[in-house]
Each structure stands twice: as C-alpha cells, then as structure tokens.
C-alpha cells in the first residue's frame, strides 16, 4: 500500500476539512489504515519493510492524535489555512477571559482547603470543561464563517485551558496519593 505523506490529515482519513469531526468515521478510517500499515503486519518481512511500516504507522498515529483532540484539531485547521499562531510569542488579550482564568487558577489553589478536596476539584473541573466547550464552539462558528482572525483569537486561549487541565490532573494525582499514603 502507498501512503502519501503530503496529503493533509483530513485527506488521509477521507474526512471533510472542518472543525466538526464524525468520531466513528475517524476511528474507522484510522483503524483501516493501521490494519494495513502496522509493523505487526510485517513481522515476517525484512528490516527495510519493517522500518517503513514504523514510519507509516507513526504518521497515521500522529494524524489520528491531531484530529481526535479538539484543541489540536483547531490549531491544525488554522495552520492549513496558512494562519500562523505563535503561542510562544503571543497571548490572548480579552480582559474578561484573562480575569476568568485568574479566578479559576485561584479556585484551583483553594481546593485543598475544601471539606472534600476531590469533590471540590471534580466540580471545578466540570466548570473548566464547560468553558472549554464554549470556547471551542466559538472557534467553530468563527472558523466555519471564515473569520480567521476571530478563530485565531480563540486558539490563543487554548494554551490557558491546556495549563488548567494539566493543573487539574496534577492536583488530582496529588490528592489521590495523599489519600492513600
């Protein structure tokens, strides 16, 4: 089988190039590709074929990981449109958004003082996930109406959510460790 590395990830899986993704179709296309490309299919082949299989399967895994994750997919869509988002150098500047983020961070720091820290964390985590979903919805509206600058502004918020979610996971692990000694 030939794998064309120059096709974009949507083309690779035969999916329309848009924010909304049909999870079942994505999963089916991914599995169909992997079942042909996976190195296990070449356990009896020579080193060369096995090496190529590793490269091909890696490429497909990366494509799948990108399209499966909402945040990564949004960034990727913008990059396909040639819109550069340098998250190292640029940041979201919507004042209300930044204020909300600060409050969420403070709330995370106070979780330890709650009567049931894990429950407090879970509640906060639900709130964060809801805001994240809203932000993605705003991205989708902007992107699909080809308002790329507005879409770019939403993507600049992604990093804040990535950090919040990492923080939730970190606190969660710490609380579990404490709970169990």
């Amino acid at each position: 089988m030939d794998l064309d590395f120059t096709r974009n990830y949507f083309e690779l899986f035969g999916l329309p190039q848009q924010f909304r993704v049909d999870d079942a179709a994505l999963m089916a296309a991914y599995r169909a590709l992997q079942s042909e490309l996976h190195p296990d299919r070449f356990a009896q082949s020579d080193d060369q074929a096995r090496r190529l299989a590793v490269q091909g399967a890696s490429h497909v895994n990366e494509a799948y990981a990108t399209l499966k994750d909402d945040g990564r997919r949004a960034r990727y869509l913008l990059s396909l449109k040639g819109t550069v988002v340098d998250e190292e150098k640029e940041s979201a500047h919507d004042p209300q958004f930044l204020l909300d983020q600060m409050e969420l961070r403070e709330a995370l720091e106070e979780v330890d003082q709650a009567a049931d820290p894990l429950a407090a964390l879970d509640a906060l985590s639900r709130d964060i996930e809801m805001r994240y979903t809203q932000m993605l919805a705003a991205f989708e509206v902007a992107f699909e109406s080809n308002n790329l600058e507005a879409a770019r502004q939403e993507v600049l918020k992604l990093r804040f959510f990535d950090r919040l979610r990492e923080e939730v996971a970190r606190i969660s692990e710490r609380l579990e460790d404490q709970l169990l000694g």
Binding site: R31, Q55, S58
Partner: protein, 623 residues
C-alpha cells in the same frame, strides 16, 4: 512527494506451512510457554506434567546451568549459586540495586557502574544472561513437545517496563537464539486470552495483581482492534504485601519482636500466605505460631479481620485504577468487562472491591497464572502468519513519558505517557551561547518535573554545529518509538544538516560489545545477522557522507588550501576503501575521520553563506 511503498501484507509464501510459534510469560517467580495447536492455545508442560517453570537458574560445579524445578531445589543448599527473581534486575543499573535489595540475596560483583553482575562459581553473570538461560529452557521444552525448530516467539513484559527493561528482555531472547516477533504487555495478553476481541465492542480493564507487582490497563476493543488507552500500576505492590500485613498482625498478636530472625520471618510469611489461602474458602482460620522450640501461640483470624489488614493495599490498587481511567478519558461505568490476572486475584476481597469499583463482576474463568502465556501464544500464532484471515491488531501505548533535559535540570516531555505507538515526534531547540558548536542531549523517562527524579535513558552529543549567534541554530530532536516501545533519538541541526542519533539502550542494558561477546559463545546465528545489519547500515551512512562531501567539494573547493584539500581527499579515500570492506567498525571510524578532516571546511562554508546572506544574496541550500 514522498511515497511509501509497502508490499501486500498477509501474502504467506506457502499457505500450508505452519510456523512453530510460542507465547512466553517470563515471570519473576514462574515462567510459562504456550502455543496454539489445532486452534487451541495451551500451556506446554514438562515431561513430568508441570506447566509452571520456576524462574530459577542454578550454576553447578560442573556442566551446564540447571533451570526450573531442579534449580529451585538448590535454593536452600547452594543459595549463592542459585539465582531467582532476576526479572527485578532486568535493565537495572548498579545504582538501582538498592531499590531491589532485600528481594535478592546474591553476591554482586563490586565495581564499575553499568550492568550489575552476580558472582557464581561458573563466573560472573548478568541478569540478561540468567534470563537467557530460562528462555533457552523454555525453548527446549517447546521444541521437544512440538517436534521442530521454533520460528519465533512473543514474550510478555509488565506494562510498567521501561525502555531499558524491554531492551534487556529482547537481549535475553537473542542470547537464547530466539526470534522475537514482539514484546507484548502482560495485561494485553490476558485480554486476548479471553477472546474479548471476538464479537465485543467496548472498553475493558485488566487488573493484574501478582506476587510483587500490580498493573492496570484500560483497553478498547473494536472489530478485532485492541487499543491500549492507558496503563498504570505500582511495581512494588502485590500479594506478598498481603502476606506481610497478615504476618505483622500475627507477630503483634503473638507478641513477637519486630527484629526476629530471617528464618523465623520466612516461616511467618509462609504461615500468613496459608492463612490468606484458607480464608479464600472459609470465614475463619486457626493459627499456630511457634514462639520457641517448645512454646506456641495459637489464635484465630476471621475474614473480616484479614480484610481490614489488606484493604489499605487494595485501596492503592483502586487509586491506580482511577488514574488509569482518567488517562484513558473513560469513567468506571464505561467499562464493559474487567479481566483478572495474577495469583493474588484469587483473594475474594480483591474480587469484591474491584467489582464494586467498576460496577460489575470481574472475569475469573481462566487460570489467572496461565492467562498471560495463553494470550501471548494467540498473538504469536497470528504474527507467525498462521492465521492469514485474522484481522486482530494491537495498538499499544507507551507507559511512561519520554522527555529531554532542558536548562536548569528540568524535563520537557516530547512524547507524553499513553501515546499510541509507533510514534515519532519532533521538537526544536536552539543554541544558548554565541558560537556554540555542540549540544548535549539527555534523554529522560518518567513523569516528574526534575531530571533527578526520573530515569536517565541515554546521553549523547550533537557536535559540529557551525558557529552562529545564540538562538540562530535550529536543532530538531526527533523521538521515534517502535511497536515494541523501544526508542531511538535523532538530533539534526536544520541549517547545516549536521546530525547525530542514538538507539537508546546502553544506559542500563548491555553494551553492544558485551552482547557480541556473549553471542560468540552461543550457537545461534543472531550475531551474523546483527553484524550484517550493522555493516549495511554503516555502508548506507558512508554513501551518504561521501555524496554530501563530493557535492560540497564540487561547489566550494576554493575555500581550501592545497594541503587541506589533500587531507580531506585522503580521508575520503580511506572511507571509500573501508566502504568496500566487511568491517562495520572500520567504516564507522573512517566516517568519523572524514568528519574530523572536514570540520573546518564545513564551518567555512557556513561563514561564507552567512556573508552572502548579509550582503543581500540568497542563502544557498547546503548538500
């Protein structure tokens, strides 16, 4: 346009040829070998009908090492020459020995860092060599009972095994002359054994509680595809800890001091284990503990009392389950099936608590000691090409994050844990000082933020970076993990094209030289294969270097004096000559020689291109 050409899979040359393939559960305490015969996967017994082979090797006064039941007989008589539990040392360095101290009583050869060596009367041996003996014995058992030479094997490893431990396991197989189709995570093998890929769709959990380790894996099954979503666990938690907790209670009740002798302690642990097994079937067990030769303490323990003792330990396993579910992004109620593996899952309290946590009764139909080997055999049968119609596919994840050391001893993750493999990810780094010509790369495995708290996998250096201002060089570091979870790292400076790569293993595995030495002793063909591969790899590299040099000389030889040009030409001739020979090390040396001879040339070409760029000319592409 890059196209990848791959021949059609599943085109076995002779459909009637059945390849002899086995699955091996290489355990800490016991090992098993299984195969598929007439469509049924079964473990293979020895001539006396015993399926479990103790993972014990004895080095006698004369003759070859003894393995298994016979060897175990010597553990009391000849303890220093009877090695057990070496799995705990696989892929570990001398500096790791503290963490396994207490589990293994051997004499280690003091000294020089790297791989630990155990002193026996037949000489010093490494854990890899000892495991190699166990695999040889399993291979012999399989070939005797199947009546032919093995084509290949699937060997299982704990999901928690890191890169060095996986590599060590593969090295052991090489010493045993075994072709490894694949290393398979133990819990994944168990799910395969239950045939959960047939007709079921959904997420399943594999709960594997052995004597000394605990693993939890979350898998998704869909039309024959096994996708490992997350793994987790605790490499120092198991049924032995149950016994220890019960023994502690017994000591307290009987008024035995904490620092009782080694022999007495062993007796107590055995009593505790017997109590645990008795309480699997009854509500209450009577105890009799020897206080001295003539004095006994006798008492009674109920199921409820034992449950209180072991509940804190079970809580730990459930915390790991919670974490794995979060990594997998699923909730307990999403779990369709829970598979139990490992002898300690026979404890009713474990089954009960696990059932409560996941909200369904766990599966316990297959012998929890054999289930891993059975699953490995099924996978081996497919990889051998014996079931061309079978669509089963295993998509695995890496258990621990892979990262790189950045300024200040911090770790930056390049591939996070539970990423599906094979995978390749790259990240760009830059130089820190003006004119910095080399960059030290430190490959790290683990979840912690500080380098010191994680495992160091390898260090290597990218040198020959042309002089540039700080921040101008673009070093692209690529991590590639193959389907077995083994890592190779490549670093390439994007402006000049200088690069360096490493296959990660020497840190705590064996060096290639050590393996080559060992292989000379074994009768397998593995060494020839390996040398041939090395030679091919070096020849390809030599061709690449020669081509790059010729094109650079064609473009810019005026940058060199006559003498310099002669030096480079001489080095080029040496490489060209070595390229035609059979010695991969000579080629590698000649490549290094040529790189050294042309270092200044490369730097000058770089300077020239910078000048051209400064004066408004276009920077020429190199190579």
């Amino acid at each position: 346009m890059a196209l990848l050409q791959i021949s059609e899979p599943g085109m076995s040359p002779d459909p009637h040829l059945h390849r002899l393939a086995v699955g091996i559960d290489l355990g800490t305490t016991n090992s098993l070998v299984a195969t598929v015969r007439n469509g049924v996967a079964e473990t293979l017994p020895d001539e006396k009908g015993r399926h479990l082979m103790p993972s014990v090797v004895h080095y006698p006064d004369q003759g070859p090492p003894q393995v298994g039941q016979e060897a175990r007989g010597y553990s009391a008589l000849d303890p220093l020459n009877t090695l057990s539990s070496v799995k705990r040392l696989m892929g570990r360095g001398v500096s790791d020995l503290k963490t396994v101290a207490g589990h293994v009583p051997y004499d280690f050869v003091p000294g020089d860092g790297g791989v630990p060596r155990i002193r026996t009367r037949q000489g010093d041996v490494t854990p890899v060599e000892v495991s190699g003996e166990i695999l040889k014995a399993l291979r012999a058992r399989a070939e005797a009972s199947l009546g032919g030479e093995l084509e290949g094997a699937v060997i299982t490893v704990p999901a928690y095994f890191d890169d060095a431990q996986r590599q060590a396991t593969k090295d052991a197989a090489r010493l045993a002359g075994m072709n490894v189709y694949r290393l398979l995570n133990e819990p994944t093998a168990a799910a395969i054994a239950y045939g959960l890929d047939k007709g079921q769709e959904g997420v399943i959990a594999v709960f594997d509680l052995g004597g000394g380790t605990f693993d939890i894996s979350i898998l998704r099954l869909n039309k024959g595809v096994f996708e490992v979503l997350a793994t987790g666990g605790d490499s120092a938690l198991g049924g032995d800890d149950f016994d220890r907790a019960i023994a502690g209670w017994m000591m307290q009740e009987a008024g035995i001091e904490g620092d009782t002798g080694h022999h007495r302690m062993r007796q107590l642990m055995m009593d505790a284990c017997a109590v645990k097994e008795a309480l699997s079937e009854r509500e209450e067990a009577r105890l009799k503990v020897a206080l001295s030769d003539s004095d006994y303490w006798s008492g009674c323990i109920t199921c409820e009392q034992m449950n209180c003792l072991i509940d804190p330990l079970i809580n730990k396993t459930l915390a790991a389950c919670r974490r794995a579910l979060r990594d997998a992004k699923v909730k307990p109620e999403d779990i369709l099936d829970v598979v139990m593996v490992g002898g300690s899952t026979r404890v009713p309290r474990v089954r009960e608590r696990v059932g409560e946590f996941f909200g369904r009764a766990p599966r316990v139909d297959i012998d929890p000691d054999k289930v891993v080997a059975v699953g490995a055999a099924l996978q081996a049968d497919i990889l051998a090409g014996n079931k061309p119609g079978d669509e089963m596919l295993l998509l695995d994840v890496i258990p621990l994050s892979l990262g790189i050391e950045t300024m200040g001893g911090l770790v930056e993750h390049i591939i996070p844990r539970n990423t599906t493999i094979p995978v390749s990810r790259a990240q760009e780094f830059t130089t820190f000082k003006d004119g910095q010509n080399a960059m030290a790369l430190h490959v790290i495995q683990g979840e912690r933020d500080l380098v010191d708290h994680n495992r160091s996998l390898a260090r290597f250096t990218l040198s020959g970076i042309p002089s540039m201002v700080a921040g101008a060089a673009r070093v692209r570091v690529t991590y590639q993990v193959d389907a077995d979870g083994l890592l190779s790292v490549n670093a390439r400076e994007m402006v000049s094209g200088v690069q360096s790569s490493i296959e990660v293993k020497p840190s705590y595995g064996l060096t290639d030289n050590e393996i080559e030495t060992m292989l000379t002793d074994s009768r397998s063909h593995a060494q020839e294969d390996m040398l041939a591969r090395r030679l091919r790899e070096q020849q390809v590299e030599a061709d690449r270097v020669l081509e790059a040099l010729d094109s650079a000389l064609g473009a810019d030889s005026e940058l060199l004096s006559q003498d310099e040009l002669k030096d480079i030409r001489d080095a080029r001739e040496q490489l060209a000559a070595a390229r035609e020979g059979e010695d991969h090390e000579a080629i590698a040396l000649a490549i290094k020689g040529l790189e050294r001879a042309s270092e200044d040339f490369v730097a000058r070409r770089m300077d020239q291109s910078v000048r051209k760029a400064m004066s408004g000319h276009r920077v020429e592409e190199f190579e």
